[in-house]
Symmetry: C2
Subunit: 241 residues, 2 copies
DNA sequence: TAAACAATGTGTCGTTTGTACGCACACAGT
DNA sequence: ACTGTGTGCGTACAAACGACACATTGTTTA
């Protein structure tokens, strides 16, 4: 019985190169919110097998970069995004998941504000897709996407993360609309207000919406101060280098 | 910009062998319950750097085996366990996490009934460690262990998984003691009973404990029927081959 | 044999949390 | 001025949660 604990990697390499026949990649599910819809950033597949299919943004992990760094790199290279919310979800490692060879992929999801980064998209084959209008993605990316959506749905009621999808200032209607888009349900406006004020996640900016064709709503900001020092899931696991 | 979606793995191999310098392993956090304590199955490290340290059970993933299959294999090889609860938790991929080389490791946790499998342990350098008496583990295994414990704590109130740690029939006292061991808190006996009967997770066996030095408690069984067809987290992600 | 002991088994009551819903107020457009 | 639409606030009822007291059953001991 051979384990990585009992032998050095160098020994293993000389014994059996087969152990290094697996490539590892990261795939990023980048969520955005626009026109009351939850959207995902996708790119057209260049593989012949998946012609006309869309795929998640991903890349192979380099030997000298942390797994998490790789996902940040993908984000930066493709979208120009730097300091965004990013969290690991699950690692997909079935032998046959990728037609071109053995690639194990770790999925991350990211929450970004679409408005802030619209310019970079024109340069690439990138496109925002409403999650309700997505057909078949390439590889097992549909499964990856669904896993990330489930994870997101499970988290938003307990953890204040959806603010990453909104502009600095937002109305309660926008916030509720976002929750409805993520959860796929309708929520009661009055109970929604009550709940969020009680949780003390919001700061009243004493400003109101502009240029709306109805009574303007108050604008709020995420109460960052209340959560200072709290770590994201990702940083909890991150090793101090 | 090179992505795995745009080029085949074969092309990449010829271009740059560096992409295949990363080994991938699985590490299993195997939980058991004995004498009112939550325990983890550990093995002595054989690495010189970590002499006298304990480590989790792990092994490198083979090129032709699924990631999940690798963790099942580790379990089977080390403990003889076959059909046990196993679930992926997180993938640790920092460059410097393993002193012997670049190894990315996916952590799984498993829940087993210690009593059923005590015989196999003598053959190996294995030992059950109470989670409250664990000092420094080798590598980043302390971090991995803590991540798995957190995950376990988060799950047991929503999902009926702790039954994997108990014998077929058990008393409510044992069940509560297990929850207390996992959560690290004391619970109110009456509210605990009420909650579990309301959840309808238990089936009254109309039997009582034997050979206890006090009034024997009723024995219950996990209400498997109520959860038929429901998948574990692992099987939700498993690819149909 | 009876009292002391230990652990099981059950109910109550007040608080908190969640959900459904009624209604007044403010702004925009006609 | 009137109407439509959305904001802002309060009430009422139901379910879940937590603290707590007392009766029951079997073992041990005086």
């Amino acid at each position: 019985m051979t384990t990585v604990s009992q032998k050095t990697v160098k020994q293993l390499k000389s014994e059996n190169r087969d152990y290094f026949q697996i490539a590892i990649s990261v795939d990023c599910v980048i969520f955005g919110f626009e026109n009351g819809e939850l959207k995902v950033l996708l790119i057209r597949s260049d593989l012949e097998e998946y012609k006309d299919h869309w795929t998640l943004l991903g890349d192979l992990v380099k030997p000298d970069e942390d797994l998490e760094s790789a996902s940040y790199r993908v984000l930066k290279e493709r979208t120009g995004l730097m300091d965004v919310f990013l969290e690991q979800v699950y690692t997909f490692g079935d032998v046959s998941r990728h037609p071109a060879g053995r690639v194990i992929s770790t999925a991350y999801y990211s929450l970004v504000n679409i408005k802030d980064h619209q310019l970079r998209l024109a340069h690439n084959q990138l496109h925002w897709h409403p999650i309700n209008e997505i057909n078949a993605l390439a590889f097992d990316h549909t499964k990856i996407l669904n896993t990330c959506i489930s994870q997101l749905q499970d988290k938003i009621m307990e953890h204040p993360i959806v603010f990453n999808l909104l502009p600095e200032k937002f109305s309660l209607r926008e916030l509720q609309s976002l929750y409805e888009a993520i959860l796929g349900t309708k929520l009661d406006r009055r109970n929604f207000r009550k709940k969020f004020f009680l949780m003390d996640w919001l700061v009243d900016m004493n400003e109101v919406e502009q240029d709306v064709p109805h009574r303007p709503g108050k604008l709020y900001q995420f109460n960052k101060g209340r959560f200072e020092g709290e770590n994201t899931e990702a940083s909890k696991h991150a090793q101090v280098v």
